[in-house]
Amino acid sequence: MKAAAFDYIKPKALHDALSLLAEAGDDAQLIAGGQTLLATLNMRLSEPSVLIDITDLAELKGITLEGDHLRIGALVTHTEIEDSELIAKHAPLLKAAAPHIAHRAIRNLGTWGGSLAYGDPAAEWPACSLTLRATMIIQGPAGERRISADDFFIDLYTTSLEPDEILVATEIPLATSQEVFYFHELSRRHGDYAIAGLAALAQKQGDILSQCAFTFFSVSSKPVMATKAQDLVNGQKLNEELIGKAVAAARAEIEALADITNSAEAKQHLIGVLLERGLKHMLASMR
């Protein structure tokens, strides 16, 4: 199908983009990579009267090392993350996750910021940003504000972004030498939306894990952290018995939502499967 007609503007400066957005309100949609938006417009599931192309905005570009954190601009593509040396060194969880996103042709255009701003429950980056304890940097008519990933994702496709705001970048704490991570997505075919996924990270000292972050995606209306399972594992000697308890805790605490392919019970089960694999992977790295 072909999209309904719309106008197209490509501002050169962030403040212009913000004014255009404020002026047009509901009639406008922002386009960056367009991999979600254009599919939506092609199906006429939305008919905006104008698209505001933000791909020229300098503040949204680039991956830079800034002291104790990595700044990832909203316009950075999935491929740029996949291929970046800075990411490989300072945020290897993202490098592990990137090849799971759709397919290469889509990764070449789709953006980090786009994935975060939509907050699709099946998306990889929202879950990773929670696990990495990212900070979102947002610009609006009132200026800049910062919010933690934890507070950013509110509900299904609902983030803290107001209609007149633009996500500019995120800051990610740098990977430490003691960290261990696990990323996996279960799907019928490579590149499909996940049936269930896990982005996990922890610090290890000897046979103990601390600062555990276990974020599950595609099991609920937004990515969700298994906080009780995390609390169980933190500071305790990691062994098969503890893994069993953590798996049971994660299954009990997360209320999975069914979708068109899988029941809530199936997703509940897979939460445990993923966490078991993740913790066993972390255990193996300690031996």
């Binding site: 199908m1 106008d7 254009l38 092609n42 199906m43 290469r104």
Partner: protein, 169 residues
């Protein structure tokens, strides 16, 4: 609201100027306005890969890219890449392995394969399969396509050429 926008892009090495509606996809512009029928339209949702073309050196979905977004860009389709010889060994290998039946997926498949060979010259068979999972084929069952790509990876690694199937004049 059919305000047309002026755009200028290089397509297969040729500078093209046009005035088009913003809602026009790149692949529709290439096929309908420039009569480059190589890239095909399948799902218009980005899933099937039949519309895959190259923009600024990277493969993209022609159905998920507006022609206006290609303003100032370098666009390459199967026509141009064939002419330049960039896909020669892949194309020979496809013919050798019967990796093509109706041909609908082939343009996208070849472009995807070419980027794999460039970015992951040491790709394993499993990695080839994962990479091309974004290109649907309804005819071949994929094995012949994977075999063809693996052959090219191996030949290149050894610095060899793929033997032409047909003797060229």
């Amino acid at each position: 609201m059919s305000l047309k926008k002026p755009i200028s892009m290089t397509v297969n090495g040729v500078l093209v100027n046009a005035e088009i509606e913003p809602r026009r996809h790149l692949v529709d512009f290439l096929r309908e306005d420039l009569h480059l029928k190589g890239p095909h339209l399948g799902c218009e949702q980005g899933a099937c890969g039949a519309c895959t073309v190259k923009v600024n050196g990277q493969i993209i979905r022609g159905c998920l890219f507006l022609a206006v977004q290609a303003n100032g860009a370098v666009v390459e389709t199967i026509e141009g890449l064939t002419k330049s010889g960039a896909l020669a060994d892949l194309q020979e290998s496809f013919m050798r392995h019967n990796a093509m039946q109706c041909g609908f997926c082939s343009s996208g498949m070849l472009l995807a394969a070419a980027e794999l060979i460039e970015k992951q010259p040491k790709a394993s068979r499993e990695e080839v399969r994962e990479w091309i999972s974004g290109n649907y084929c309804r005819c071949t069952g994929y094995h012949s396509i994977v075999n063809a790509i693996v052959d090219v990876l191996e030949a290149r690694a050894k610095g060899q050429k793929i033997k032409p199937v047909v003797a060229h004049a």
